[in-house]
């Protein structure tokens, strides 16, 4: 599974530009699913059919896009100004490296600040692709780059860019692989465009599939680092049920279902109310006549930096929990 996670995190796919990562995922799920399709906004949908009728239609969504940079201007000396696709904190960028869709590499530099106690704003940063002048630059406005940082295996813990949410993608692929039989019709969906505030990919998917219930499988920030976030969620203590966040109030029936299934199968899990961020569940909950939703999250340190960290135990327990959830009937 680690090799898969490495491939997924080292593949390019900023929001709205998920072609390459979709191809990687497709190759994985094609032999496992009963049906594969790509929707109008580029989300990949893999369907696992039930052994008999009478189950629920369940949607699991992990977003395959990642945060990225998009070029806004090529200046008169050949430096590239940019803005972001999704929430990229400028403080994580200086000295970092990027790669464009066509393979062009670049480094991120910043204007010299008058006051070094301050951090750069996005407008004070630029990408340098080693051009001697604008004539050398093939990159143009609207071209997209992703952060580049090699995958790092620390044993139990993994570090990579875009673990948000390629780890969710890996969990879905592995769940599909391990799920032998299910009474449900399960839609494993790898959504596009989550990192943009509108979550258009998930909105389109939920409308198109009309599920009875839906889970987003994403990452969530932990509180286990020095003076970290105010949450008890920690690496290694199991996947987290993200009960509330500013965009989603989980359906209490879904929370109870996950909670009880985990207890019954003795799978460690954590409960979380997050005071920031949201997930694809936001766009899915109000689709059509309503979809009961929640979010199963992999605890992750340093979210939205090029070095996100997760614990393999949490990843495997998330798979185990999902397999248990999908293997038995559910009454909602």
């Amino acid at each position: 599974m680690k090799a898969l996670i490495q491939t997924l995190t080292e593949t390019f796919g900023p929001s709205g530009h998920e072609d390459a990562v979709r191809a990687v995922i497709r190759a994985q799920v094609e032999p496992l699913a009963d049906e594969i399709r790509v929707d109008a906004l580029g989300s990949l949908i893999a369907v696992k059919r039930p052994v008999r009728d009478g189950g629920k239609k369940i949607l699991l969504a992990a977003h395959m896009d990642e945060i990225g940079l998009i070029i806004s201007h090529v200046d008169e000396k050949g430096f590239l100004r940019f803005t972001t696709l999704g929430g990229v904190p400028p403080r994580t960028l200086v000295g970092g490296r990027v790669r464009f869709l066509d393979g062009t590499p670049g480094v991120i530099g910043g204007e010299v600040l008058e006051n070094w106690d301050k951090v750069h704003t996005m407008e004070q940063l630029f990408i340098d692709i080693g051009a001697s002048g604008p004539k050398d630059v093939r990159v143009k406005i609207g071209d997209v780059a992703a952060l580049e940082r090699p995958f790092l295996d620390l044993g139990k813990r993994l570090v990579a860019k875009s673990l948000d949410d390629r780890i969710g993608v890996a969990v879905l692929i592995e769940t599909l692989r391990q799920l032998k039989m299910t009474p449900h019709e399960v839609y494993f969906v790898f959504t596009s465009r989550e990192e943009l505030s509108s979550e258009a990919g998930a909105a389109a998917v939920a409308f198109g599939i009309e599920p009875d219930l839906a889970l987003s499988v994403d990452v969530t920030s932990t509180g286990d680092t020095p003076k970290g976030h105010k949450t008890d969620v920690a690496l290694g203590k199991g996947p987290a049920i993200r009960i509330h966040d500013p965009g989603v109030l989980s359906d209490p029936r879904i929370v109870a279902w996950i909670d009880q299934t985990a207890r019954k199968n003795k799978i460690p899990f954590q409960r979380q109310v997050s005071t920031f961020g949201t997930t694809d569940a936001r766009a899915m909950q109000a689709s059509r006549s309503g979809v009961p939703v929640s979010c199963l999250a992999i605890p992750c340190r340093y979210v939205h930096t090029p070095s996100e960290m997760v614990d393999m135990d949490d990843v495997q327990n998330a798979v185990k929990l999902l397999v248990c959830l999908l293997s038995a009937p559910v009454e909602i």
């Binding site: 072609d19 109008a40 070029i71 696709l85 465009r193 943009l196 389109a204 198109g208």
Partner: protein
Amino acid sequence: MTDPIIGTPQIKLLERLCNAVAVSGDEGEVRAIVLDEIRAHVEDARVDALGNVLATRSGSGKNRLRVMLAAHMDEVGFMLVNADGDGLFQFETVGSVDVRQLPGKRVWVGKRHLPGVIGARPIHLTTTEEREHKIPLESLRIDLGPKAGLAEPGERATFAASFHRLGPSLLAKALDNRLGVAMLIELIKHAPPNVDLLAAFTVQEEIGLRGAGVAAYALKPDLAFVLDCTPANDLPMYDRSENHLYNTRLDAGPAIYTADSGMVHDNRLVRFLAETAQAAKIPFQYRQPGGGKTDAGAIQRSLAGIPAVSVSVPGRYTHTACSLCRLEDWKNTLRLLYTALEHVTPALLNLEHVTPALLKQ
């Protein structure tokens, strides 16, 4: 069928459109002009529950795509919220209006275009300290002249009409988005036969893209182009450094969107528009990615997802009493849209456009 062109009648129509008052939520005046212009050219034109005008003009070829073209009819403006008496009204802004643009402007109030002004305290009565801060909206009033009963709270107002031509430029209030409305009218009149053209003249774009999503739901298109006007901030930087935050520039042709704060525009359609422009030798520019939203944001996430892209005429000083654009940019935007419509095919929507360079990595 002839190509659409912009000549004197089209400029006259733009003038009428710009001089009409259609603040978000009360688009009736522009709606009336639109209905009048398009009725003879479409199979049906209807006004929906929000006031959008939806019209269909079917083509005649085979494998026709259902192509939605959307242009918002509404403009930013004001609503009277309280009568102070004596013809003075407290007001709120509708849509994104910079309050620093308001003092000293003439306005029109209500359906009868009652003239009014927004004044300011005489400089003699202000302090130096006071002049360092913007005049807050709460202290501004619309003055209709000292007479009671001329208007009442709830009525809309906007900047007074200001249409005129200046060399290669057009100046008017509400070029955002009467330029788009006028283009859409022309495209309906000259629709190419290879597509089913689904036109949406939308409402309430300036207060949250509320009309466009509803319109897309009703029209069920295969893809959508949004016609709008976007700011050209191509002025000098305060410190004379290189301006890298211009959004768009005048004289550089239609501005194709790639990403804004609401969405990543469909990259298949972005590429198609750019290639179409290059092939037809139409100048174009990419709008700088960044903040702002267009109706495409609401259309893209409607139904089970609709591939969408925005194309805008660059315009300086949008959302103020008088905006400015180049006639040539407007003409080129219309040409690009028409040429694109002529060449759009279902193959364009093939989703497995994987970039070869990346797969090799």
